[in-house]
């Protein structure tokens, strides 16, 4: 099976990094993104760790970078993205980067300050000039300022006037009485402002030079410092071994990547002339889950992980979800036209996925749709298929094959003359009359039903039964997937004590319901339609052990079979409830009895003597994923096990009933979609198509009507109904399907990587 079936094997590795090469090794590991470091200094606060000084320096540098970035933004420029591969620089380079950045920042600050001062001066001069000019001719400046001419005598009044003008933040300029003097002052001002403008121009040229240097330095600098900080933070998680003069790190690494890891360590430490090693150590904690996906499977794995990342090495529902999710969506969305639109939209996104413009788009809603493009593609494709089966294309039925119902035969045999038809507005075709029903439509629902007034009666019955059948099949599949978990984790007793009773309960009751449905479809004919047995009443009577005389039996001895099945199913409940706990308790007691004899031998073996941090456990194949071992057996608490099993039993049995009913949402949503679609057609397009006998009128009117139809189709039927069906299909997977086998209590392997900064 492909690697998506369950998580890859992930091992705990211990890395010995000689101090000289530690930085380079970790930097290389960050480039590769293979391992997830475990924090060995969790009890130490961030301020007491070894590399806190370096981290501090990086952070200060980042602050300067932020300032520079802000300046660049204020100048209206855009930072170019960094080009090429930029590895984390060696520690000695940090000083150089720091100096350069500080210098640039200081220059920038100075130049900015000068520029602002000059601008203020210029503004003052211009105001003065404007005031003076007001005396001569009105200028075309937008007059947001009011100019007052204040003449006064005497110093004291002058001071008071000054105070008043200061209060109102007025600009005060001397106004000379003689016109020539004023003209002279104006000329002088103009000269001054010209000079000032030249200086200002120079300053701004210098500013753009500095900004140019910033644009060159900043993008690579930011990436490098970011990586450096990440490396130091990772190094802070290692424990220091002074005796060996090296750092010891523990990391989770996929077993498949171990050779690559060792090679990377070897290469990067060889430059320094030392050697870093990594070796696998046993571990008792649950490893993280790693499932490799490509761009197609990533979105499906994403929707499974959104509910919960799988426990280490439990069965992954994602490969099945690739098909069942779009399929259940399509059952609720089934329409050829809408499916085609969705498919084409997704196809456009898929074909354009490598274009840089598309990848760089920042709009979040677009990003959401874009990331799910393969999901939409499959959803659209399956919707086209289910649309053909439901025989709905924008709510219109298509007659690919001729209908299997003959109106002519009914009319001829029942004497439906034109007069008779004129009197009766509604008439029903009777399948009992020969020649009326000529056979089931070979692909999908017969198109005659779209013309019928009682088409919902037929469709509801069909869709409800379809929902139950699909639901029981889906849930049974979920229970069967649990078998793989039980076998893998070495809990074979659960096969007999849980899976078998669960399957018997589910199939004995609801599988039997499916059987009744199919039997009735095959074996109950229209000849005795009036007395047709009701499955619902049979099912209810099955549980109540009662009998309705008016309800015909479907097959002889039906009541005996039903009684047997109910008794069998009820008998499964105590097995489910008590089977596993009793077995576990029995096994525990057996081990306890054997234990005193074994204990001596265990102590002599001394397998618990590993000196390194946080590693003291057994490692054997049966340990691989949480089977009980000796340490845990001692803590087996009977009441806990029984309680856990009781909850599981109640959840399963009640869940069988409620989950089967929950699948009826497949019927409900497909009905809603069909009805919305039909209403939109009847209220919009049909009115447009029926307008006017003259060709010209209809053609012109149809354009806005079709526009309205298209907009509402996309907004209501594609977006709203699509989101709704998506959500319900997701719920069916997360709850009804996955609670049969999936625990989702794991955590993902999040490797130490710089990948987020590189792109």
């Amino acid at each position: 099976m492909g690697s998506m079936f369950r998580s890859e094997e992930v091992a705990l590795v211990q890395l010995f990094l000689p101090t000289a090469a530690a930085y380079t090794c970790v930097s290389r590991l960050g480039e590769l993104g293979l391992v997830e470091f475990r924090d060995l200094n969790a009890s130490v606060s961030a301020f007491q760790r070894r590399f806190v000084v370096d981290v501090r320096r990086c952070e200060e540098l980042e602050k300067t970078f932020t300032f520079l970035q802000e300046e660049v933004r204020r100048a209206g420029l855009v930072l170019p993205p960094p080009k090429g591969r930029l590895p984390a620089p060696p520690p000695r380079d940090l000083l150089r980067i720091q100096e350069e950045t500080e210098r640039l920042a200081q220059e920038l600050r100075d130049v900015r300050g000068n520029q602002q001062a000059l601008r203020a001066q210029l503004h003052q001069l211009q105001l003065h000039a404007a005031v003076l000019r007001q005396g001569h001719e009105p200028q075309g400046e937008p007059a947001t300022w009011m100019t007052f001419l204040i003449s006064y005598w005497g110093e004291q009044i002058g001071q008071k006037i000054r105070k008043i003008t200061d209060c109102f933040h007025c600009h005060v300029f001397p106004f000379l009485q003689q016109e020539e003097a004023r003209l002279g002052a104006l000329q002088q001002l103009q000269q001054q402002s010209q000079e000032l403008q030249e200086v200002l121009g120079e300053t701004e040229r210098f500013l753009s030079q500095v900004l140019g240097r910033v644009l060159q330095l900043l993008p690579p600098g930011q990436v490098q410092v970011h990586k450096m900080k990440a490396v130091y933070l990772a190094l802070n998680q290692c424990s220091v071994s002074t005796t060996h003069k090296c750092l010891i790190a523990e990391a989770w690494c996929s077993v498949r990547d171990l050779p690559a890891l060792q090679e990377a360590l070897r290469d990067s430490s060889m430059e320094e002339g030392v050697s870093a090693v990594a070796h696998r150590i046993p571990c008792r904690d649950m490893p993280p889950t790693l499932i490799r996906t490509n761009r197609f499977t990533a979105s499906f794995q994403g929707i499974v992980d959104a509910y919960g990342v799988g426990r280490y090495q439990e069965v992954n529902p994602a490969p099945y979800t690739i098909i069942t999710f779009p399929f259940l969506f399509a059952v609720m969305f089934g329409d050829v036209g809408h499916g085609l639109l969705m498919f084409l939209f997704a196809l456009a996104m898929v074909l354009a996925e490598n274009r840089p413009a598309v990848k760089a788009a920042q709009n979040e809603i677009w990003q959401t749709f874009f990331r799910g493009r393969y999901l939409l593609l499959l959803m659209g494709l399956f919707s086209i298929y289910t649309g053909f089966i439901y025989n709905e294309c924008f709510s219109r039925a298509t007659s690919i094959f001729p209908s299997g119902w003959s109106v002519a035969a009914m009319a001829n045999q029942s004497g439906w003359s034109d007069a008779f038809l004129a009197q009766h507005t509604m008439l029903t075709l009777d399948p009992n009359v020969t020649g009326v029903f000529l056979g089931p439509y070979p692909f999908g629902i017969d198109p005659i039903w779209s013309l019928a007034a009682n088409h919902l009666s037929f469709l509801n019955s069909f869709k409800m039964k379809m929902s139950v059948i699909l639901g029981v099949v889906h849930m049974a599949f979920g229970v069967v997937l649990g078998v793989f978990n039980h076998v893998h984790f070495g809990q074979r007793h659960r096969l007999l004590l849980e899976t078998l009773p669960e399957l018997t309960f589910l199939l004995g009751l609801f599988g039997y319901l499916v059987f009744l449905v199919i039997y009735k479809w095959l074996c109950v004919w229209a000849a005795r339609a009036a007395s047709a047995p009701s499955i619902l009443i049979h099912f209810i009577n099955m549980f109540l052990f009662s009998h309705s005389p008016s309800n015909r039996l479907l097959y002889p001895r039906q009541e005996v079979v039903q009684a047997t099945l109910v008794v069998l199913a009820l008998a499964m409940v105590p097995i489910l409830l008590l089977g596993t706990p009793l077995h576990l308790l029995h096994r525990h007691r057996r081990r306890l009895r054997r234990r005193p004899a074994d204990r001596q031998e265990e102590n002599k073996a001394g397998l618990l003597d590993l000196p390194d941090a946080s590693v003291n456990g057994w490692s054997s194949d049966e340990e691989k994923a949480g089977g009980l071992d000796d340490e845990e057996e001692a803590e087996l608490v009977p009441s806990e096990v029984l309680m856990h099993q009781a909850i599981h039993t109640i959840e399963f049995c009640l869940g069988c009933v409620s989950n089967t009913a929950s699948y009826l949402r497949l019927w409900a949503l497909s009905l809603a979609h069909a009805q919305l679609s039909e209403v939109l057609w009847a209220m919009v397009m049909r009115i447009g198509l029926g307008l006017g006998r003259e060709v010209g009128v209809a053609a012109v009117v149809l354009v806005p009507i079709f526009a309205a139809f298209a907009v509402m189709t996309v907004a209501i039927l594609l977006v709203m109904e699509g989101l709704s069906a998506f959500l319900h299909a997701l719920r069916l997977h997360w709850v009804e399907f996955q609670n049969k086998f999936y625990s989702g209590t794991g955590y993902k392997l999040s490797p130490f990587t710089f990948a987020a900064t590189d792109d």
Binding site: M1, G2, S3, M4, N294, T297, P319, Y320, I322, I323, T324, F327, V331, Y385, I389, F401, P402, S403, G404, W405, S406, V407, A408, W416, L421, M426, L427, T428, L429, P431, V436, F437, L438, G439, P440, Y441, P442, F443, I445, D446, I448, W449, L451, A452, A453, H455, S457, F458, S461, F462, K465, M466, I469, I518, W521, L522, C523, V524, W525, A526
Partner: protein
């Protein structure tokens, strides 16, 4: 209007989805995605076949027929048949 057999569609579709779901997996080229592609083929075949089968079985022995308006009856009778 036209007599439809039941056996013929069953044979055709069973064969078709059988080819997709049972024979198809043998032809998937070896590669890292082989398991996923086989799972997809089998799941598609099962889902689509089951869905089609339910649709045709539901119409095999109808217990009641469509209720039509008199205009529809007139139209279908004289223009379709």
């Amino acid at each position: 209007m036209t007599a439809h057999s039941f056996a013929l569609p069953v044979i055709i579709f069973t064969t078709f989805w059988g080819l997709v779901g049972i024979a198809g997996p043998w032809f998937v080229p070896k590669g890292p995605n082989r398991g996923v592609i086989i799972t997809m083929l089998v799941a598609t075949a099962v889902c689509c076949y089951l869905f089609w089968l339910i649709a045709i079985l539901a119409q095999l022995n109808p217990l009641f027929g469509p209720q039509l308006k008199n205009e529809t009856i007139w139209y279908v009778r004289f223009l379709w048949e």
